[in-house]
Amino acid sequence: MSYSQEELEALLQNDDFIRWVQLPEGEEHAYWQSWVQQQPDRQAMVELVRSIYAAEQAHPGSHDLANEVWQAVQSQMDTPVRRFSWRRYAAAAAVLALLAAGGLWYAFSGGAAVQRGLILSKKGAAQITARNNGTAPKTVYLTDGTRITLSKNSSLEYSNLLEGEKREVYLSGEAFFEVAGDAQRPFLVYSGDIVTKVLGTSFRVKEDDKITVAVKTGKVAVSRQKESGAEELILLPNEQVVFNRQANTLNKTAVADASLLQSPVTSATLSFDEAPVTQVLDSLAAMYTVNIQYNRAQLAKCMVTVSLEQESLQDKLEILCKVLGATYETQEHVIYVRAQGCN
């Protein structure tokens, strides 16, 4: 066998070759035939691959098995999901977790991605809804670097913030906000009847029978949504305001429940060690629910080692582009990354 390692590796990576071996016909048939004839050991390689294919193909009893398993699947399709069954629960959770973790790859940025109980779905080009159906708090990452940790049974509507002047989110339920500073674009949280306006700070909003806004750092302004120019309460760290829906009153006090100010433990670090840059870009697209377009074939061989923490998406993209010698731009809510590719 006179194959050099490089030659063998190149051949094993050649999709056209694999396709032709499986189906020796079509446009490239003549080309491969003459290629085979150039060296005797090429024929051996073709035969080996063809045997592997044929050997794997013929799975004895596979047809009966297919019917048998289908019967079993069908019999379970209509049974209700049993509650309190740990086995069921764990198994279902496994599939959902897959969608989030390894499945970042396959979760298409055009639709709903599930992240261990956190459901992100997209409406139109830019609107995103996040809902925490899990049992633990889940963190939503906004492209400006803001982190919002949603408590269970809470949901958040927001835009990808790639374009436009306002940063506005709509909360129902409870969340802890760590808003990235941006004096040019105030950050507005709408919850029930009130709106909380911030410039860059951390605070919690909790909406149940009443609405509580508790500030940990920075400064926020709380007002009723309906009346513009109406009473606006300024909150400083360790202050809270409680909106009583029935009495329609806003009461400012010191934060009574210290747990309201506990920062959730979040790990925003995306760490890659010699990973294809395509994987990094896909992870970012899934993390921020944005559409990132690039030439997959060109970038698949670009390996990067990078650790991305609390920067905004723009900063993360700039870091990546520096590493790659690439550029990016945003058009109509789609991020285009242009690069030379690697060998």
Partner: protein
């Protein structure tokens, strides 16, 4: 691809219909992928009942969890990866899988295989046996690359390894396989000149 009755676009439309609750589309997905999934699963676990159970659970969960599913870029890639994930949750399967040791011949299995494969041609049988002897991860990479015709990128994605590791693993598998075949099958003269 020849082993898959569905083209990628038929796959995509079946996936979309299935997500909306269409049973026929769900069965089309099942029928289109079951043989490929089974062949792949057997490379990871080698125990038929384990693979059957995993596939059964996978499809039941897909159906019940369909409302939460996303569009996928490759239905086949998604199903392969999901099955792999499911199988590797089983401790016994995981231990074998990560041991990276060549397979020991399992007498019971050999007997069953001989019975089941009597009608197979000698060549296929021999190549199959040689593949059976490879460490599980090498079996897996061979299955993905040659049977499922996955690109190297897809292999890396499904196996959760980086691109270069996928290439290295495939290379090792082929070298090892040729070694086995060379040692055992010198009669297969067409393979080796």
């Amino acid at each position: 691809m020849p082993q898959n009755d569905m083209t990628p676009s038929a796959d995509q439309s079946a996936w979309e219909d299935f997500r909306k609750g269409n049973r026929q589309a769900f069965e089309r997905l099942y029928r289109g992928h079951i043989h490929g999934l089974f062949a792949y699963g057997m490379r990871i676990s080698s125990e038929q009942h384990v693979v059957k159970d995993a596939i059964q659970d996978l499809f039941v969960e897909l159906w019940k969890g369909r409302a939460a599913l996303s569009p996928v870029r490759s239905v086949k890639g998604y199903l392969l990866k999901a099955l792999r994930y499911k199988l590797l949750r089983n401790n016994k399967v995981r231990t074998r899988y990560f041991s990276d040791l060549p397979e020991l011949p399992d007498l019971q299995n050999i007997e069953a295989n001989i019975l089941a494969r009597e009608e197979e041609s000698g060549r296929h049988q021999k190549v199959r046996r040689a593949i059976d002897r490879l460490p599980a991860r090498q079996q897996e990479v061979i299955n993905l690359r040659f049977f499922h015709a996955c690109s190297t990128e897809e292999v890396a994605e499904i196996m959760s390894v980086n691109y270069q590791s996928a290439i290295n693993l495939l290379h090792r598998a082929i070298v090892q396989l040729r070694h086995y075949l060379n040692a055992v099958l010198f009669s297969l003269s067409f393979l080796f000149f």
